[in-house]
Symmetry: C2
Subunit: 369 residues, 2 copies
């Protein structure tokens, strides 16, 4: 019994990424990779922007270059880590919150505060919805006008292509590139709704939820389980008339968090009030974030989380690739739709429908032999 | 470019289930299938028990029989549904809660109440931990002594083999068999911790969370996002000295639920107090459950949810099968471990590690050609 994989399937498998050339050390570098690497090491923004565009591309030759570049970047990062330990690592902060929470104003102010303290800050956005709207380059510059003019800040608009898997993969790689260019604080912001929070939480060292002081109805939009993922809850807009409402919200979140199993046994998720308008609470919030990092480093959880995240990402990519190779088999999409219909109508059990699809796959391959 | 799938891979693919014989209508039935089918239609417990054991097996020939049996059961269920509409469908109720919530006593009393009202009640347990401990047959009979002697109740201990995917697949199929044997109410209980609640919620029409009136610390054990999945929250043990604590708990849950996006736009998750000891609140709880079912049926969501669940299960099985076929390739386990280590140590990016594994897979297949 021997099965032949048809040419199309091979191509699908290979197309998922340029497999042959990814991540092998010590290979001859082409000029682009060399130039970008030098640019990154010199902290040049233009090189960073070009490098991120490179990892976002789906062009086969450029994907090959992106693979080389990332391997070198990882090598350098590892050398630095071996030398200096966890201190060599940047601080990756995830930010999420419902529309109207004042995320942009917060990042603008928080980012300016950080650069004034001598930090270099990169802001990346994960926005799966932009796959259809075509990105939001202009939007990003408009909503953080001061930070985008700051020499020590780099704001990257969200990538404008691909499904969530693709977008999150390139965001993950963009984080590494920002770090290579010397940005010690990387803020990953989620825009839009849906699953993006769940991807971001697996990319960052600390995940913060930002909420407005508004009433209960606005919060109905909160994504499932988002409180459980948060290392910190920030009640924004705690200024003027809104202070009592912000206090109430703070109290309610503290009480709601009691019902949730702590994400880390070394850290109890705090709920803090701040005002992006008056800057009140922003320095204290940064102190709290540093305390979190210190606690995580001391317990070893900081490095452990990063390792666990990398393994989780490996499996996400692997499963995605296997499924896309399967779905990409000629004629399979139609068969899947048929199987879905039959399972949904209850004509076959879901398990049998899945088995039949796999059998069909094998039969097709046999015929192709 | 033609790739040969080696014999081992074929066998792995085929072994994931007996593919060739699953779910095709009108095929010649063997004697066992015929006998079980007749037993189920006559509502015989012994046949039900044997049928469930059959779908839990991993023996190839028996899997084939299980496939035939399920196809026939589905056919009959569809005929009944075409004739009578949603009323022909059973009521599948999921129950979950932390240890100490009094789940067993509740199911014992609730089950007895239902059989006294003329219902036939099946109780199934999902317990992934029993894969290692070897099941809990005795435990199930001991913890619900009266219900297990009731002629109108069928208590099935949790399956004692396999990983979560396998356990949940057979639970899904056991539900269908219970329905075929005339059980109009199927209670699916989660035992143990971890991911089991998330599987159960996709198997049932209504998901209820049961909690004890105890203090905050005990509830730290609540699984992530479980509140968001609940159609109903039951505060148990609201009797004697515990009434004030139960009231407090009820209030706190009502307030915590305000922060959660409703699971259905037609239903607001209620929080009710009951006592399994004094039976107080149990008839009212059943009325509430029926009201839920009525609301869901009226809105069409009842049938829609079942369809969506079946599609979700198809994809779960499909992905599981693809991954096990991949992992089952000769030598792959070791390579995966290596890739995981390299990704965790940061030597390669997770994306590249995944790509390299796929490439290796293809290369292996080419060599086998």
């Amino acid at each position: 019994m021997a099965l032949i994989l048809p040419r199309d399937l091979c191509r699908t498998l290979l197309r998922t990424r340029n497999l042959c050339n990814a991540g092998i050390r010590g290979r001859h570098e082409d000029r682009t990779v060399h130039r970008l690497l030098q640019g990154l090491q010199a902290g040049q923004r233009a090189s960073l922007a070009e490098a991120i565009t490179l990892v976002e591309t789906s062009h086969p030759l450029k994907k090959q270059q992106a693979g080389h570049l990332l391997t070198r970047v990882l090598q350098d990062a590892n050398d630095q880590y071996s030398e200096k330990g966890p201190q060599a690592l940047s601080f990756r902060i995830g930010l999420s919150g419902p529309p109207g929470a004042g995320k942009s104003t917060y990042i603008e102010n928080f980012g300016k505060f950080l650069t004034s303290q001598g930090h270099k800050v990169a802001v990346l956005a994960v926005d799966p919805s932009s796959a259809t709207t075509g990105g939001s380059l202009l939007g990003d510059k408009t909503r953080m006008p001061e930070l985008s003019r700051d020499d020590d800040a780099y704001i990257r608009p969200s990538p404008s292509r691909g499904h969530l898997g693709g977008v999150t993969r390139s965001t993950n790689e963009a984080i590494m590139l920002c770090e290579a260019a010397g940005y010690d604080t990387v803020i990953v912001e989620t825009i839009g709704v849906g699953q993006s929070e769940f991807s971001v939480v697996d990319m960052v060292d600390m995940f913060a939820l930002i909420i407005p002081p508004g009433g209960g109805d606005e919060l109905q939009g909160l994504k499932r389980g988002i409180m459980e993922m948060s290392d910190l809850v920030v009640v924004n807009k705690s200024d003027g008339d809104l202070v009592p409402a912000a206090r109430r919200m703070q109290y309610e979140y503290i009480s709601a968090l009691k019902f949730i199993r702590p994400k880390s046994k070394h850290w109890k998720t705090p709920v803090k009030r701040i005002s992006s308008l008056t800057q009140e609470g922003i320095p204290e919030l940064w102190e709290l974030m540093q305390e979190f990092r210190h606690t995580m480093e001391e317990s070893g959880e900081f490095v452990e989380r990063r390792k666990t995240q990398r393994r989780a990402w490996l499996w996400t990519h692997l499963k995605d690739n296997l499924v896309s190779a399967f779905v990409g088999t000629p004629g399979m999409r139609e068969r899947i739709r048929e199987a879905e219909t039959r399972a949904m109508e209850g004509v076959v059990s879901p398990g049998d429908a899945a088995d039949q699809l796999l059998l069909l796959h094998i039969t097709q391959l046999q015929k192709a032999a």
